[in-house]
């Protein structure tokens, strides 16, 4: 069996909603009927084979070939199998994802991993704004699983997130971990303004001291935390520099906040240096 591949025939001006094209739903349907499935492109209702060239037959391993960020809702509620996007994706990639593995070999749009509950979302390029964040009106952002971004991420990474791990190997923009409830966010590069604003619980792992940190994050001193070893072990298979960094870290410099909301979230500086 070869991966079920959907190659975009031509760039579309509108977003293409592919949220229903996930392994467990396609498996129920059978390969033959996938071509005739309806597909919304903007306000126009088309068929899958009008938009994509369909080949392959393994519904557990789905591949999208796209050269423009028009695919919206890739991997929506997916629970198993793998989806690979060779190219960029639009918004809501991995939205409410529950399991399996979703890989984007390009950039991901806004709200990636929003409401995600399980599985692994791997973005090899950059992620847009609101990565793992709550949508307006929603109580929580990401609620489980692991997100790995090899590049940078936009504003409000992990806003209102409550469980799971978001690892950004590049930098993040402003308001990272704002109003965070729990979970783990790691950043190897720079962080912007408003880091951890209104954070109640959860962990921010930083490879380098933030340029700006609210004084309402209180210096908590040098700590030796056993759970970091468990975290390092859980990341082993991802082949990310976070693993070695965590392994090499005996003690961390810890800041606790945001005390303006009586938060006991933590910011851990993995290089052990204190804020200058």
């Amino acid at each position: 069996m070869s991966a079920l591949t959907l190659r975009l025939r031509e760039s579309m001006p509108a977003a293409i909603d592919v949220s229903h094209l996930v392994p467990e739903r396609l498996a129920e349907l059978g390969v033959g009927r996938i071509a005739e499935l309806p597909l919304w492109c903007g306000s126009e209702r088309l068929r899958v084979d009008e938009v994509f060239e369909v080949s392959g037959d393994d519904t557990e391993s789905l591949v999208f070939e796209a050269d423009a960020p028009t695919l919206q809702g890739v991997g929506y509620r997916m629970a198993r199998g793998t989806i690979t996007v060779n190219g960029p994706t639009g918004a809501y990639c991995g939205w409410k994802m529950r399991g399996g593995k979703l890989t984007v070999r390009g950039d991901a749009g806004a709200y990636a991993a929003s409401g995600m509950r399980g599985g692994l979302l791997s973005v090899e390029g950059n992620a847009g704004d609101f990565l793992a964040a709550a949508r307006p009106g929603e109580r929580y952002g990401m609620e489980g699983g692991v997100v790995l971004v090899r590049g940078n991420a936009g504003v409000r990474v992990g806003e209102r997130m409550r469980r799971g791990s978001v690892l950004v190997e590049g930098s993040v923009a402003d308001w990272c971990a704002a109003r965070m409830r729990a979970g783990t966010i790691g950043v190897l590069g720079d962080t912007g303004a408003g880091l951890g604003w209104g954070m109640r619980r959860g962990t921010i792992l930083l490879a380098q001291p933030p340029e700006l940190l609210s004084p309402l994050f209180r210096e908590n001193g040098e700590q030796r935390l056993s759970f970091l070893a468990l975290l390092a072990r859980s990341l082993e298979s991802l082949q990310t520099p976070f693993t070695d960094l965590l392994r090499a870290t005996a003690t961390v410099r810890r800041y606790v906040g945001d005390r303006s909301v009586a938060g006991i979230g933590e910011l851990l500086l993995l290089d052990g240096k204190s804020l200058s």
Binding site: G118, G144, T203, R224, L225, F227, L230, L231
Partner: protein
């Protein structure tokens, strides 16, 4: 049947169904991990008076533990899942939480779970932190030397308790030497513990007593000082002392392997080492589901 001049009695050890769990205790070094494990498995020789039977299964190198520190693997057995849960909570709370630098993790998988950190987290008085890593919940409880890391719960398994070997020797010292050999051989095996002091018990009991309030009393049949006094005495004039090793294991096969290793080590001492006979304790087969026949095990 005789091995090395040691008589193997045609009898069996009668063992019972129990509930068990394994926990991995880690510490800042091997010594402190062991302190925690010893405290946790202390006073856990018999369910009759201790609530559970527990022991150290093995020590673990840093590469073998979840957090990469020195560790000790502990097995705990009780008569019911409810009692096991109570004992795990009490003992982790009093012996592991209290030990400097310690952390504790589940050592058994499985759907049936026994709460471990689930209750203990409240010691954190609201400052405790939950971390879910790979779908497993851990609690970080602030303590005076940092954080106590405890897994939410541990797996429970059906297990077997009460496998035993009873052996007769010419003198107490010869009985003790044989016991030491046997326990050393049995400790090399996984999935079993010998819950009594040093793995050995000298106060074997029988069911019932002449005192109404007591359910069990001394096993007069094997007490050398009651030879010629008790009608039930099984001891000839050559017997100086009798000792017993009790073994609990996760499966009947584990208990049987341990009994084979132990009986083999005792028989290796041989008649020259003062060992006269190996037998086993049972209650006529009515109380326990598992029967370990000595001659089959040693065949």
């Amino acid at each position: 049947m005789q091995i090395n001049g040691v008589q193997i009695e045609d009898t069996y050890a009668e063992a019972f169904d129990m509930r068990a769990t394994r926990m991995i205790i880690t510490g800042p070094d091997a010594t402190w991990a062991m302190h925690a494990a010893q405290a946790m498995t202390g006073f856990a020789t018999s369910v009759i008076g201790c609530g559970c039977e527990a022991g150290i299964e093995t020590t673990l190198a840093p590469g073998q533990t979840p957090d990469g520190r020195h560790g000790v693997s502990v097995l705990m057995f009780a008569v019911s899942s409810k009692e096991l849960g109570k004992q795990v909570s009490n003992r982790v709370g009093q012996a592991v939480l209290t030990a400097p630098g310690s952390a504790i993790y589940a050592g058994l998988e499985g759907k049936r779970r026994i709460p471990m950190g689930k209750q203990l987290r409240y010691f954190g008085d609201g400052y405790q932190i939950s971390k879910v890593i790979d779908g497993v919940r851990y609690w970080r409880v602030p303590v005076m030397d940092g954080e106590f890391l405890v897994q939410e719960d541990t797996g429970m398994a059906a297990a077997v308790g009460g496998g035993n070997l009873i052996f007769l020797a010419r003198s107490q010292e010869q009985a003790l030497r044989a016991a030491e050999d046997a326990v050393a051989a049995m400790r090399r095996l996984p999935n079993v513990i010998m819950p009594f002091p040093g793995g050995v018990v000298r106060s074997g009991s029988k069911v019932g007593s002449r005192y109404k309030a007591l359910m069990a009393s001394t096993n007069d049949a094997y007490c050398p000082t009651l030879r010629g006094v008790s009608e039930r005495s099984q001891l000839g004039p050559e017997v100086g002392a009798v000792l017993e090793i009790v073994v609990n294991g996760l499966t009947p096969e584990d208990v049987s392997s341990a009994m084979r290793a132990g009986a083999g080590a005792i028989a290796d001492r041989g008649a020259d080492g003062g060992v006269l006979k190996i037998t086993a304790g049972n209650y006529g087969g009515k109380l326990g589901r598992h029967h370990f026949h000595l001659r089959e095990i040693l065949a």
